[in-house]
């Protein structure tokens, strides 16, 4: 390629950001930015991918909005939509688990704390999953663990990449050890996808902590995080109480973790779709045949 064409090609961005058409939120509803305290129209916020136009604060995003933001238009086809948690331990401390589940379903309109499905991102066939913090803090119980595991298995069966957007308070204690074991189960499924040499990219959104962080969320080939997202194993309050030390500035933020070598890149939300598509270009576009011993 002549050198001038080379530079011209660099000018041509392959992807353009599509707006996250986020439903039909009434324009009249006000929201206050938690960071800069500006008052914003909800409709404007939704059209701007829930990023504050004044200070770039990233609002938490629910799972359907997240899917709309990342999946190519019309490509998303939900899987395991009817898969839900039950109450295997008949957990009844403070408030019955069944009640928490019913409330979460009503509040979110979802059956569980994650949506999964087939999708395309920048034309790449993927299995896309997005967690929803409104659903019992997007904690991982049997149903979340099963849906994540099936997402990896579906990807392997159909030779797709996996893209998961995480946000979670950790394991769902109302399912006791069944929840803890989902960490092992989902990690095992991620490991099998890795052995099959299919790409897995995770996006750590605010907040991702506990058992989800310490399992499938960080086992991706490329780990991205959103600006300012709180990511860690133990929550900051527990760390403070246990160590009786004051926490370093920016402790457990995405930026802090990148500085410490734990995430590949902190990606502002307006760039996220393009970044994912580009990363998938690379991970599916190697020119050397995969071979040798695994």
């Amino acid at each position: 390629m002549p050198i001038n064409d080379w530079f011209k090609a660099r000018e041509n961005r392959k992807y353009t950001v599509t707006s996250s058409a986020s439903g039909d939120l009434p324009d009249g509803v006000w929201v206050k930015c938690a960071s800069c305290k500006h008052t914003l129209y909800q409709g404007d916020l939704a059209r701007g991918a829930w990023v504050c136009p004044h200070c770039a604060h990233h609002f938490e995003m629910n799972a359907p909005d997240r899917v709309a933001l990342l999946a190519d238009d019309g490509s998303f086809e939900e899987t395991d939509a009817g898969l839900t948690s039950v109450d295997p331990l008949r957990f009844n401390a403070a408030k019955p688990y069944t009640e928490s589940l019913a409330k979460a379903r009503e509040k979110s309109g979802l059956t569980e704390a994650i949506i999964t499905g087939r999708a395309a991102i920048g034309g790449h066939p993927v299995v896309l999953g997005a967690m929803d913090f409104r659903f019992i803090g997007a904690s991982m119980g049997s149903a979340v663990g099963e849906k994540v595991t099936r997402a990896f298995e579906l990807a392997e069966a159909e030779q797709r990449a996996v893209v998961l957007v995480t946000a979670s308070g950790g394991a769902r204690m109302q399912e006791g050890m069944l929840s803890l074991m989902q960490m092992a189960k989902t990690s095992a499924a991620a490991e099998r996808l890795a052995r099959a040499r299919l790409p897995y990219v995770s996006v750590l959104a605010n907040p991702t902590t506990g058992g989800v962080t310490a399992s499938f969320a960080v086992l991706a080939d490329v780990v991205l995080a959103e600006p300012g997202a709180l990511v860690g194993f133990a929550g900051p309050r527990l760390v403070e109480q246990t160590t009786r030390q004051s926490l370093p500035k920016g402790f457990q933020t995405a930026e802090f973790l990148m500085e410490h070598g734990m995430v590949d890149a902190v990606v502002p939300r307006p760039d996220l779709t393009v970044t994912l598509a580009t990363v998938l270009d690379y991970l599916t576009g190697g020119c050397v045949a995969a071979g040798g011993a695994s």
Partner: protein, 320 residues
């Protein structure tokens, strides 16, 4: 030795102390106390049977945390020979909250991993009370890979309150270190036998805590969250831990019922610390049986079976 007394056993301990006093007096020249001594002995035995034979989940947690309870180091010394400890994670340091070792069990060469609580305050500080940092998990992962590379079965002992929630632990990727252990363990092509000997605190236990067999001591626990933390979250009151312990299905029997553990090793009345030799023998027998069953299998088949085993854990409903 001054024994650590658990709250719920105080009535027994008080009677035992009274009995000792009466016996002293009897020997010192008060033979008329003989019948009183006999009566007291019978009462103590009755009380032991009712108190110890039906411990509540929270009482079991206290037994599991008993400072004199046999620890990983005891099992390593009593059940294994020719032990070569392996130190360090090759990145940052050596975390003494986890031990990794080459060790021989009944003629079978193995890799052993375990959480290591100390026996004295001084040792406990060095070992961070058995709560690992990322280095501990990375050392464990290194040992797992070593086991696989040379076809050595892996035997692990669980006894931790949990991974350490510290600033440096977070900076150096506690979650990453645990997750990588989970991934490595999930398809390790050698037999993996796990023994829950004391505390099984959440992700820090799980990192070396699942495999082809899970053997639980009767009073050991394994839980997604500590009962105190659970009570703090649910009731804003850590002192309601007993209630939480009953809700979390964290005892050995619960784990068998949920299809997570394979067998429960009976402990002597009052807990493993009462007669450690009995416990060592029973654990040895359980490990021996597990290794005999597993060691004939091909590594890839083992990993495949392990996945199926994990795959089956969880209870969900599928509607439309």
């Amino acid at each position: 030795m001054a024994r650590h007394v658990m709250d719920f056993e105080r009535p027994i301990i008080e009677l035992e102390e009274k009995l000792a006093e009466l016996k002293r007096l009897e020997i010192a020249g008060m033979p008329e106390l003989a019948s009183e001594i006999e009566g007291l002995e019978a009462e103590i035995e009755r009380l032991r049977q009712t108190l110890y034979a039906a411990l509540s989940p929270w009482e079991k947690v206290q037994v599991a945390r008993h400072p004199e309870r046999p620890k990983t180091q005891d099992y390593l010394e009593m059940l294994f020979t020719d032990v070569v400890e392996l130190h360090g994670d090759r990145h940052h340091g050596d975390d003494e909250a986890i031990v990794a070792a080459l060790a021989t069990f009944d003629g079978r060469r193995c890799v052993v991993l375990g959480h290591r609580k100390g026996k004295t305050t001084k040792e406990n500080i060095r070992r961070n009370f058995g709560s690992p940092h990322p280095e501990g998990f990375r050392k464990a992962q290194r040992a797992m890979k070593l086991a696989e590379k040379f076809g050595l079965p892996l035997v692990t002992f669980l006894d931790t309150a949990g991974a350490y929630p510290g600033i440096e632990a977070e900076e150096r990727g506690q979650a990453w270190a645990i997750a990588e252990c989970l991934a490595t363990l999930s398809d390790l092509a050698v037999p993996v036998v796990v023994v829950g000997i004391g505390e099984g605190g959440s992700g820090g236990a799980l990192a070396i805590g699942f495999g082809d067999r899970l053997i639980m001591l009767e009073n050991a626990y394994y839980s997604v969250i500590s009962p105190e933390m659970c009570a703090l979250i649910l009731h804003k009151d850590a002192s309601r831990a007993a209630e939480s312990a009953s809700c979390l299905a964290m005892t050995a029997d619960d784990l068998v019922r949920l299809g997570i553990a394979d067998e429960v090793v009976k402990e002597p009345l009052g807990g493993a610390h009462r007669e450690p030799e009995v416990v060592f023998a029973r654990v040895a027998e359980a490990i021996s049986r597990a290794l005999t069953e597993l060691c004939g299998s091909d590594g890839a088949a083992l990993a495949e079976k392990r996945y199926a085993r994990l795959r089956a854990i969880g209870v969900v409903a599928e509607g439309e």
